[in-house]
Amino acid sequence: MVEFKEDVSIVLGGAAGQGIQTVEEILTRVLKLSGYNVYANKEYMSRVRGGINTTEIRVSSKKVRAFVKRIDILIPFKRGVLPWLENRLSENTVVLGERENVEEEFMEKITFVEVPFNKMAKDVGSPLYLNTIAAGIAVGLFHGDFEILKEYLRKRFGSKGEDVVSKNIEAAEKGYSLGVKLCEEKTIGINVKKDERVKEEVLLSGTEAIALGAIAGGMNILTFYPMSPSTGVAVFSAQHAEEFEIIVEQVEDEIAAINMALGAWFAGARGMVTTSGGGFALMTEALSLAGMAENPIVIHLAQRPGPATGLPTRTLQSDLNLVLYSGHGEFPRIVLAPGSIEEAFYLTATAFNLADKYQVPVIILTDQYFVDTYYNLPEFDLSGLKVEKHIVETDENYKRYLLTEDGISPRGIPGYGKGIIVANGNEHDEWGDITEDEELSRLMQEKRAIKKLRTIRKNAMMPELIGSEEARYLVISWGSTYHVIKEALENLGREDIAFLHFKWLYPLPSTVKEVLEDKVLIDIEQNVTAQFAELLKKEFGVSVDHKILKYDGRPFSVEEILDALKGVLE
């Protein structure tokens, strides 16, 4: 018998279009409502049909939020899945499926449990029921709540008529009882505890958290041009545009997208764009306009590996330098990178207030791994969220670019007050009119690039320290690697190592320097040149002692981080 305790990782693999998504959806929803903690993440090829896509689902007694390399149960829907996942298999991997979908050379390596999916599906009436059977088996293995599974199928297939519903329920039953039987026969042993509280939690993806955070932050307009992996935010927003009473417009290109968002802010509304590296590259001229005109804007950039078209459906953290240094001329910006789904929600909402307060571009950096990940979490608390617009009613003498000590001029908008707003992408005087005056040019440059930056830096968010301030080793990371590193450190269980996670990447508060002093610094990033370590060097003159880098387009796994840390620690 192969036994799994506390935490099981199930992987489904098949061709695009084979319905893996459906199984994943049934499984995660039904198991969550049965009281299990769940986590899911997918990996897919840049094609619409064929190829091999996989999904990892973790089911656990405790909260699970990170990708593991290990596969406990694998359900392959076609040949080729096992070779594709070769380095994630072990003798402990139970493969459930058709004999023909398991290549001969793997039989030795794994525990194979033959399940005649196709025959079972045909018995129900059509090969179409294969997915429901597979989902049923997995739910059965966990002794999940069958009533919930039935309810789910009713809801999902209800529009297709009573016959389809009852056939699906029949298929699910067949699968479910086989799953239960595999446990009773002691072929597979599963020991994962349920937690009643999980049932009341929400199941949310990174994509959805960004979109909902934007809505909570008062986003009125979302403009975009489709580009993976950022499009999901637009899809979700468009599907709810009516309830939220917002504009979601797919425009002609990324240049139009960002310029429209700038127009929205200029008129007092709140605009956001969602894009990926290539799209952001096109936006950089308008980013500079935002800098010069002190026009607020919020940009969501879901990173994928580049340069150029790169690996369109895979993950990397390699656009940090792009967002830090893009644009011509010198102007401040704020760069944020959420580490968890909760953070994605609250930080995105906050991004809008920051953009308004400082009148600068605020960039939210996520990546493919992050946006495609989901897990259960407690419902958000909306009570603390405030929309702070920082818009003033103007008088006749209003000056858009009033020179002030903190570098922030009160922002008026057209039609609100007696004043006239003249905003300008050319160097300008306090009224916004073009100037080539030496003194004014100098003052305006200093206002934007020095005074305003100083004000932002003073109020910047400190990184999150997990572990002791006294620890000898300090792991440094940013953005989406948060949970993988956290879990690896929990598994490592050493007191002498702490973790500093950055969600606010730029500008960094100057007090960060003290946290970095006298430590062995271990930088973990998903890029080839350690871009964040470079930033730390530039800002504070510190050098990291070790770099753990990954750049093959795949996310870090808990095991990889653990191994790498063991290699570094004494």
Binding site: K199, F244, G268, A269, A293
Partner: protein
Amino acid sequence: MTSPMLFEPNRPGSKDVAWCPGCGNFGIRNILRKVFAELNLTPQEVVIISGIGQAAKMPHYIKVNGYHTLHGRSIPIATAVKASNPKLTVIAEGGDGDMYAEGGNHFLHAIRRNPDITVLIHDNQIYGLTKGQASPTTMLGMKTPTQPWGVFEEPFNPIALAIALDASFVARTFMGYFEESVGIIKKAIQHKGLAIVDIFHPCVSFNKVNTYEWYHKHTYWMEDHDPYNREEAFKRAIETDPLPLGIFYIHEKPTFEEQVMAYKKDKTPLWQRKPKFGEIKKILGAKKGF
């Protein structure tokens, strides 16, 4: 009618006008001041979003709200300004290079999107600010410092193009005809939907071919033209010499703002709205179940 003087700017920087003496841009500014006055508008309710170029400097020389932006990008910005606050009268303004070259893609797609804005193109058939290179509307054979052999690319025909794309309002005028231009631009602003007005104006510094005299000689006003007849409009649009002036085409259709979900029930300008926390809660509630 208010006074055109209401639109005279009085900021220090707006006194030093960067246009060359004798340039057609001055005439367009006077036309606009008269138009705003005749429409009884206040400076506070008008916004001019301009691109880059000599023409695009307009927001500094007229007293209305303005945003002097990037080369070619005034249309998307203007579209969002109108969508954020439909109470504003929004004008996108720039030169022929600005609107037809760098901003060509936005020009095409704005016609499809049909926001209720007015697009004014100062068509001097040359690049002014960058000192006399050919523009998309420069005539065949014209020699310039960067086209020393003479332009051989077919000139862009914005009028025919706009009609081909079934634009909502398409007109052409020559700023040398003051009252007629006031009339046309007034109608363009009053028109519900995207209104395009191509405005001929001489560039006295760099275009030695298309002078005031040339425009007087080579243009004529359309009479008895039915702007609701697309085929007739198209026929007029492809005439080359003399070039017709007037309103070529009108097609009333729903605007961008009328069709977006944001304004289906609530007409409050977007900038005055609060986030719908109730709806977020509902979605989160649904995310607990299926």
